[in-house]
């Protein structure tokens, strides 16, 4: 149970996400991933990528950047038999690759399908909130590159910070709230017109 003054998280403003997929590519760039990405971009609309729900004039389409939720209660950490998954005081959940034996229990346990086994050596991999950048006082690379300025990164516990301010002024939701994982990623979307 964390009880510190810092909890890093993301607010995704789906009213500004233009569905450009830059975040997906940015993640590949930052982590030198040849195939795949720790981040996926889901279309909230029609059944297919980049298509809307409804029929004209009642069309709607939003996009949802989707990665590790850096949960308060990470199911991955709970099932990991090697103790390879840790949660830092600032909330960031990390997989320590040297300790991972590729058993993939975490892959199955994650309700967000945020973890995948990497192509070489079968190590579990996921979004690490660009911890190397964060530790230098920089924002995660997806947030930096986001064309729509839709990814807001910050310390949710800092009342004076932009993240807390946004949460105070807007309605947000978390994904799969019923799983009780308490994600650190919040999504904002206005009610569909």
């Amino acid at each position: 149970m964390q009880n510190t003054a810092k909890r890093y998280g993301f607010i995704i403003n789906q009213e500004k996400c233009i569905g450009c997929y830059t975040c997906v590519i940015a993640c590949k760039m930052e982590h030198q991933i040849d195939k795949g990405s720790y981040l996926s971009l889901e279309t909230e609309g029609g059944g297919n990528m980049d298509t809307p729900a409804g029929t004209y004039p009642g069309l709607s389409m939003h996009f949802r950047p989707h990665a590790c939720m850096h949960c308060e209660k990470p199911p991955c950490l709970e099932v990991c038999p090697s103790g390879a998954i840790i949660k830092r005081e600032d909330g960031i959940v990390l997989i320590e690759e040297d300790s991972c034996n590729g058993c993939s229990l975490c892959v199955e346990a994650c309700p967000y399908q945020a973890i995948k086994l990497g192509p070489e050596g079968q190590i579990a991999k996921k979004c690490d909130m660009c911890v190397n950048r964060v530790d230098k006082g920089l924002e995660p690379f997806c947030a930096l590159c986001c064309e729509g300025e839709a990814i807001l990164f910050g310390n949710i516990k800092d009342k004076a910070g932009a993240a807390a301010e946004f949460l105070a002024r807007n309605t947000v939701r978390v994904l799969k709230e019923e799983c009780g994982t308490a994600p650190a990623v919040y999504y904002h979307k206005k009610a569909v017109r």
């Binding site: 233009i18 997906v24 590519i25 760039m29 389409m61 690379f141 590159c145």
Partner: protein, 754 residues
Amino acid sequence: MSETYKDAKIVRTACPYHCSGNSCGVLAHVQGDNITKLEPAEFPDNRFRRVCLRGLSSLQLLNHPDRLKYPLKRVGNRGEGKWARVTWDEALDTIADNFKKIQEKHGPQAIAWVLGGPGGGTTKFGIYCRFAALTHGTRVSCWGYGDAAGPDAMLATFGTHFQGHDTRDSRNSKICILWGTNPAVTRPFQMRHFMRARESTGVKLVAIDPIFSHSAARCDQYIQIRPGTDSALALGMMQVIINNNLHDKDYLTKNTVGPLLVNTVTGQFLREKDLVSEGSDKYMVWDRVNAQPAPQDKPEVAPVLDHSCTLKGARYETAFHMLSELAAQYTPEKTSEITDIPSDVIRDLAIEYASNRPSSIYTNMGVQRTYHGDLSFRTILALAAVCGYYGVKGGGASLGAGPKTYVLNWGYFLKPEEWATYSRLPILNLYEALETGKPFPVKGVWFAFINFVNQSPNSNKIIKDVLPKADFIVDTDLFMNTTGQYSDMVLPVCTFLEHSDLVGGPFPYLQLQQRVVKPRYESKSDVNIINALAEKMGLKEYFHKSEEELVETFIDSKHPSLEGISMDNLKQGPYASKKFAEPFVAWTDQKFPTRTGRIEFYAEKLAPLGEALPVYKPPKEGRENPLVKKYPLVFVQRHSNFRTHSMYANVSWLLELNPEPLVEMNPVDARTRGINEGDMVLVYNDRGKAKLKARLNEGVKAGVVDIAQGWWFHQFGEGGFNCLTYEDRNPAQELVYEANSGFNDVLVEVEKVG
């Protein structure tokens, strides 16, 4: 200045790739001679600090296994795909020999320099102009393969090709109409400005588009329109506005040709000399005070905006009278029949746009890629004039990236010597020049930053009838693509990471594209290719400047807009004139560079073609065309988020997300054809075909199908998207400036194949 600049292993440059003048700043992380990472570079205003998925994927262009490594000379027949490696010396000697022979036999203008889209790059474009001028060659202007109709409309109406509002000004609008444009995909910078504007001042964003695009999805209102009927909508809006007395009569009288008298038979403006011998060329208005015609520039005259009269036996009407009579025909009901937009939506949009002052329109090339695309934009421009929205903050009807304000030293490139001039040929006229030698024969072709066969209309005709008539064809590219296959010599060029250039944008900045690593393999920048070719053709004395020296030449215009600019400070970061700290608004002085000095919504030059007024003419290939019985669907070709035209089509990071061509169609049209999601289909008409998978998309208007342009032909099962289009030239556009390709004005049928 951030910490990163002190580290010598990080180089600041700019990605110039063609996002309508919005080039992103890029920091390249270098280790040895390799680039390990690209990231967005800082700007004084950090809202500009972004780079998109394409810019980031540029590392994959740099390191692509299929990159052209050395010059290739064709062996075997064109299209056979047989090549021999040659040295640069041999390649350039061969080109020089062939070009000399052609020039001796057919004249110097028989060599055509086909300059496609340099994006934001200036020296790479300029060097070709200089070479063409010094060799009296022909510079082929590539506005016409999709981008000419907007500038045509601007030239006819405002006397200049490009001008408009800085998109940051949209915060001052009450309503912003994104008319036939999809900035979320084609100009993310601009989309960001719109969304910021909405957050700060609550501006309402309205999207008008045949397809519910990524931009439309973020707007407050989406209006679905039949392709090519935008003039009708604009006229319909004018009808409502004038009927409700919401038009700006004062503005129309002072700043437009509204009050000028027009001869209803000749369609020409009345001039003083038409009434009195020894009279001047001055345009005439009807003076209310003295109840007689008077020159328009006399301050004591009170022009009547809406007037008709008979003078010397001829009937005259004011241009505004004619415009309002034209608009009067476009009642909401009639407009609805044409555009498929409900009449109450038209009425409400018109009233909102005119009463919430000021409101603005932003548009770009998509809406203008129909046969009458120039009329589409002329009518939109007239609509904004009717409301008096020019020269005011929060107003305008602006094209693309907006303002043109920096004055660079183009003289060095366009007119290097008094005697040095090139002939000019629009791209759509190149077809005829090659095929039949009209207006003059072209026998040698050099393609620069263009994938001509892939991206120009009627690819089958190009391959069968046009290119075979050329004696020698040179293609310069990063890859062997659709155009290279039909060339005689293919030369490897560099990515932006391997050469320096001066890059315009994002407004209000100018940036230095600074070489990060050495050119790979034997690739060369366009500047260095031309410098080397010049030596072969006896022009070495004119082509000795390096890339950076050319940048210095460009910025040395001594124009006040570039005050304080220098190579040194460009190396540190982007340049912006202090004048543009506030969003730029065009024509605040209400002085327009037209012959009348006024906004010319009425263009007398086009009277012989019945287009002096911004009329509505139906799409060339739409439901009014009997061809619709055979080919009932309208084919449009939007831009892909995963490419910049045909660039990046072979990049694995992007292909992972977007693996293959798709034809997007409304489920209603798919159902009647027995087509399910993912079925292989053939899209075809009399000109050609394309075989690809179907995607069902409720956002596509019923009756319309869309294939995102830029896929290379080999990525289709058969054919290609531009096998379906035509190269016909609109004479009205030619009269103004240059004919445009009606890419979005094509009829096709779609059927399921095995």
